[in-house]
Subunit: 113 residues, 2 copies
DNA sequence: CTGATAGTTAAGTATATGCTTAACTATCAG
DNA sequence: CTGATAGTTAAGCATATACTTAACTATCAG
């Protein structure tokens, strides 16, 4: 698997670009077509297609074409997975701080308690 | 500001690399030196330094050097900020689904309720 | 002072990313 | 059928990313 990219690699990579976050912002309001996604963005349509491709390959977005319109929508599972990864590390760090605090408290000389 | 990168660009970019996420994993357990961070990683020390630089510039990690040892630790605020961005979009999307569900419920013919 | 440890800097390279314009296809409305 | 709309593909280019090795500096232990 020389070219394998872990799901979180792709998800965070996708979220690292302001244009793609703007697209996610729009999609958070509800499904949208490619041109709706493109309208506020200062770039060509093909560029938006590339960003959409990145979002889809990351699993953050799915789309289907009906007639000539491709409708895109958020895939919340991948969003949750990314959120959970961050949350777990932050919580681990905080528990760590708490343990340190407790340790300092316990080893404090009596008169400082 | 031709070279400005929004905080979230940098944070998500930093989290997009498996080596950097491994470093964050280690740091979630508590502070660590550069070589402790490097030990499990299949790359040279200079490469680890570059990853550390990316993490620091993103605000996810801070470090200070005492003697010849540089000690690195997680900066939880930036982690929270990234988490919040994702969480907000996911929740917005879910509220959206709920509204759609309610709408379908309300407009359903009587006999299907 | 001397060697080992911890980190840093520099230079070079391969690949990936983020666009562009031009040309094209497919669908729909009248 | 015809023109407008929505999207797609291809080719090309500039810059950024993720490393490498070699050489160097700073600190500490004895």
């Amino acid at each position: 698997m020389l070219n394998y990219q872990a799901p979180l690699d792709l998800a965070f990579q996708a979220l690292a670009d302001p244009a793609r976050r703007a697209m996610m912002d729009r999609l958070a309001q509800g499904p949208a077509s490619v041109s709706e996604l493109a309208k506020p963005l200062p770039m060509s349509l093909p560029a938006v297609m590339l960003h959409l491709k990145v979002l889809e390959e990351s699993g953050l977005v799915k789309s289907e074409k009906v007639g000539r319109v491709r409708t895109c929508r958020i895939e919340p599972q991948m969003l949750s997975q990314a959120e959970r990864w961050i949350s777990e590390r932050r919580q681990m760090w905080e528990r760590n701080l708490d343990r340190l605090g407790a340790f300092l408290e316990e080893t404090k000389p009596e008169h400082e308690k």
